[in-house]
Amino acid sequence: MVAALTRIFGAHNLALAEDVVQDAFCRALEAWKIGGLPENPSAWLMATAKNRALDLLRRERTAGKYAPEMGRLLETEWTLAPVVDEAFAAPKVRDSELRMMFSCCHPRLPEEAQLALILNVLCGFGANEIAAALLTGRAAIEKRISRGKKQLTGSKSLFELGDREFASRLSTVRRALYLLFNEGYHGASPESAVSPPLCEEAMRLTALLREYAPAASPATNALAALMCLHAARLPARVDSAGDLCPFEEQDRSRWDEGLLAQGLTLLESSAAGEEMSGYHVEAAIAAVHAAAPTVAETDWQAIVPLYDRLMDIAPSPVVALNRAIAIGQRDGAERGLRELLSISDRHRLAQYPFYPAALGELELRRGHHPAAHARFRAAFDLARNEAERRYLRKRLQACAGA
């Protein structure tokens, strides 16, 4: 709704658009308290917001005050109501959301500000919710949002999809959605080890991106495939007690078959064309896992070269870590440990509990229990939330019990 209104009022009037939505919510709560929930609450909200927007536009009709693309159509009663009505029609709303997404991913904004802005403007998350989801303080999030909004409102219009910058902006958008998904998937909050709402929002926005043909490139399809294949594992990632369940121990019957199938179809469609992105490789790795009934039966011969490829396209210490784990699976614990200890920028993993945990896992596997215990102890001290601590406590017990 904010995106639709920003299309009318212009990006420089983002605050006005947000006020209208806020106002509609307040009115709704008041009315519903007395009269009960209407049959179609979202239509009710939409109608209220529309009327509020009409009031505001009538009060000040000056041309040029609002979005330039609206031209003079807001100045006259001949077209005012139909234009507002049109902006709230489903296809236009989708289009506005898409353009808002591109506006939020301004290259001058740091990635973390883009994420905060998307969550605030497009997903309707408040600063508190975003702070909790991104594991950051509220003050820092508010700063990011306000910085992002300053950038956003520096322009009068939402990003034009026909703009020359479209292709480069598209890759920024993909990156932001990828990070958003990962925050949900790995992102640990004090209460839970995964945050499905972030994953759902990332998937919703990626689906929106794919609806627009020029944005539905192979890399976008690969990103969507990756999200589906990972999201399929979400139900198994946390056990019934809410504890993080290691990949090796996941009950694969709890993987979501529908999402797996959807992911594989998307991966197939992403193979059209020459482009080979990091998303392609990550999705391919996830697909190999999806095809295996158990960890032992996984085709590690196929996975290791995919990680090699990923290290070429998008190297990172976490990718190197996963590659080393895959080598450990393929060639045995000794090789895996050697790979882990020779990750070139492993100092960047110094705060990451799953690096010492991976070392511990391989030590345990080759029977060096005291060494494994020490590694898990180090991981435990780095754990960022209760779920991680509970998981590592179990691993520590495994060292002692064996």
């Binding site: 031209g71 003079r72 159509l73 100045e75 006259t76 001949w78 139909p82 234009v83 009505d85």
Partner: protein, 118 residues
């Protein structure tokens, strides 16, 4: 470029045809919007004007006699708009595409008169 005032006129019956049901009214507004958009895009929209309510008051003569009017049954001016066009022929062609005309009512096209200096 010359300026022309468009006066949109229709009878109650014709208006009923175009705006009688919410769905028809919505459809009429949509097609009208598309027509205005095109005028603006091609630089013809000088002043978008306003639609007018169907009834009002008339004040007449030295005695300022006030009557109700115009009568709803009559051929009413629904509103106005100012466009710019090369000449009457072009203005006519633009007006002919107006959905109000398509709907059976009429648009009156009048050139803005340039009053000469005395």
């Amino acid at each position: 470029m010359s300026e022309f005032v468009l006066l949109f006129r229709s009878t109650a019956e014709e208006s009923q045809q175009a705006m009688g049901t919410p769905e028809r009214a919505r459809q009429s507004m949509r097609t009208f919007l598309a027509w205005v958009r095109e005028l603006e895009a091609k630089g013809h929209l000088k002043d978008p004007g306003q639609p007018l309510g169907r009834s009002g008051k008339i004040v007449r003569g030295k005695d300022k006699v006030v009557t109700d009017g115009p009568y709803a049954e009559a051929d009413l001016v629904l509103g106005f708009m100012v466009i710019q066009a090369r000449d009457m022929a072009e203005a006519l062609a633009l007006a002919a595409k107006c959905p109000i005309v398509e709907g059976g009512a009429c648009v009156e096209i009048r050139p803005v008169m340039k009053v000469p200096l005395e």
